[in-house]
């Protein structure tokens, strides 16, 4: 099946946070009130009851001066998700159209996925001892609807559709922006981590939007998953097997030598 996803065009976003509210509403997530931090951002990061946020990023560029960027931020629905590979419970799955789905029924709250994710997106919900994250509205999409955030967006900054088509729109839009006052306009999600199932049109380089330029699964996690988990454990059956062999040979050798196995007289 064709990959389905959201294209989010930063240049059309007014930071109304309608998407944030629609997400809370559809997923029945209680409000999480964080203290005022001196800017417009409601939440420091996604959390157990907040799957998506709009970030407000203030900064100063040595050449262009002060900038103020908004960006909708949530799970990137990676094509080969690290959360899925570390989960000891198989709670994660990929839908045929590209969403990374987390099944709360299977989750035991170990939080391996939080630390494996290049974006640290899966978040712990302490009251249930479970992880939560954006579902790309799997429940809506499979019924033929668009995700709650995209449906609500009043400016058309969020568009849901087939990834291939959206990518074409994104390329054209980035080209247009580059020619019209945003020389560094770019696309995010096309090649990152082998292609995310989330597309962004950015008016500036990704680091100006708090996005990692080259997102990576942390080295400790790949070492753990690719080396320790599959191979290292074999030392245990080898030790057990050696002991079992010794159990037999000690008794055979003792019988052959005619002494009773009563405790170590050589």
């Amino acid at each position: 099946m064709a990959k389905m996803t959201n294209l989010y065009d930063v240049s059309k976003c007014t930071a109304c946070r309608g998407c944030q509210v629609a997400c809370k509403d559809w997923n029945q997530l209680p409000a999480v009130i964080e203290p005022f931090k001196g800017n417009y951002q409601t939440h420091e990061d996604t959390n157990g009851d907040t799957f998506t946020i709009v970030k407000f990023i203030e900064g100063e560029d040595p050449v262009d001066g002060v900038y103020w960027n908004f960006i909708k931020y949530q799970c990137m629905h990676c094509s080969d998700p690290a959360c899925m590979s570390v989960c000891p419970q198989g709670a994660y799955s990929k839908t045929s159209w590209g969403a990374t789905y987390h099944d709360p029924e299977k989750c035991i709250g170990c939080q391996y996925c939080t630390y494996a994710c290049p974006f640290e997106i899966p978040k712990y919900r302490a009251r249930e001892d479970k992880i939560t994250k954006c579902t790309l509205c799997v429940d809506r999409v499979e019924e033929g609807l668009t995700p709650a955030c995209a449906r609500t967006c009043p400016t058309g900054a969020l568009k849901f559709g087939e990834r291939d088509e959206l990518l074409q729109i994104a390329e054209e839009r980035a080209k247009f922006l580059r020619a019209n006052g945003f020389p560094r306009a770019t696309i995010y999600g096309k090649v990152e981590l082998g292609g995310l199932n989330k597309l962004y049109v950015l008016t500036d380089t990704p680091d100006k939007f708090d996005l990692p330029l080259d997102p990576k699964v942390p080295g400790q996690i790949t070492f753990w998953q690719n080396w320790v988990q599959p191979y290292f454990g074999w030392l245990i059956p080898i030790a057990l097997g050696g002991s079992a062999i010794s159990f037999v040979t000690t008794r055979i050798l003792a019988n052959k030598n005619g002494d009773h196995t009563e405790g170590g007289h050589e």
């Binding site: 000891p88 290292f232 000690t250 003792a254 405790g263 170590g264």
Partner: protein, 227 residues
């Protein structure tokens, strides 16, 4: 066929481990094995049958944490309550020398039941010295990394990520040692007598002299410092 060498109460016996050493040794044995089996349920990627023993994965996680806390307490009790013994143990490990190296080289043969001539050993032989270094170190790493994994949010993310492979590597090393250690300390005909040292506190005097000559001489024999 005999499993463990028979306990002989009617021959001369010498003390090997005091009560606290024995109590805490079996305390950390039980809690270690509980942690091991509940942990393996995750390590073996969804070993449902293993988790089922503890009432599913939530039960296994709970048992893992309770046993972990109990093990931490047992280890602390041992180190504080038995401080002198711990120091003597460390000193004995530090006596690692030529005889220990010869022991370790001959060990595979002795392990399989061949008769070998082993040079005199101190309280802990070369193999036990190795075990005394590897297993407790691995257990300390298990404890440290385990608490980090338990409450990751209060630690830096990089440390949490490091805790995962450390927990698993320590688990494998400790378990590998414990497999052979548990076997040697029970069913192995040559060294099985040591089981009674850990269970009842004493071992046969002739066994002690034969297996740990240096220790025997220094503690009970000619070289004993007049106790």
């Amino acid at each position: 066929m005999q499993w463990i060498p028979e306990y002989k109460g009617d021959v001369p016996r010498v003390e090997r481990f005091n009560f606290l050493s024995r109590f805490t040794h079996w305390g950390h044995t039980v809690t270690f094995l509980l942690c091991l089996f509940t942990g393996l349920a995750l390590f073996l990627d969804s070993a449902d049958w293993l988790a089922a023993i503890f009432g599913g994965f939530h039960g296994a996680g709970l048992v893992h944490r309770i046993a972990a806390v109990a093990m931490t307490i047992v280890v602390v009790i041992f180190v504080i309550g038995n401080f002198k013994v711990v120091i003597a143990w460390i000193k004995d490990i530090l006596r690692f020398g030529k005889n220990d190296i010869i022991f370790i080289m001959l060990f595979p043969l002795e392990f399989l039941g061949f008769k070998v001539k082993v040079p005199p050993q101190t309280k802990f032989n070369g193999g036990e010295k190795g075990n005394s270094m590897i297993t407790p170190t691995a257990v300390i790493f298990l404890i440290l990394s385990g608490y980090i994994m338990w409450v990751p949010s209060i630690f830096p993310a990089g440390l949490v990520r490091l805790a995962y492979p450390i927990h698993d590597i320590s688990m494998v090393l400790a378990t590998m040692m414990v497999c052979m250690h548990g076997y040697l300390g029970s069913f192995h005909p040559g060294s099985g007598e040591s089981f009674w040292g850990m269970w009842k506190g004493t071992v046969r005097e002739d066994w002690a002299e034969h297996h740990h000559k240096t220790w025997y001489d220094e503690t009970y024999g000619d070289k004993a410092s007049g106790e």
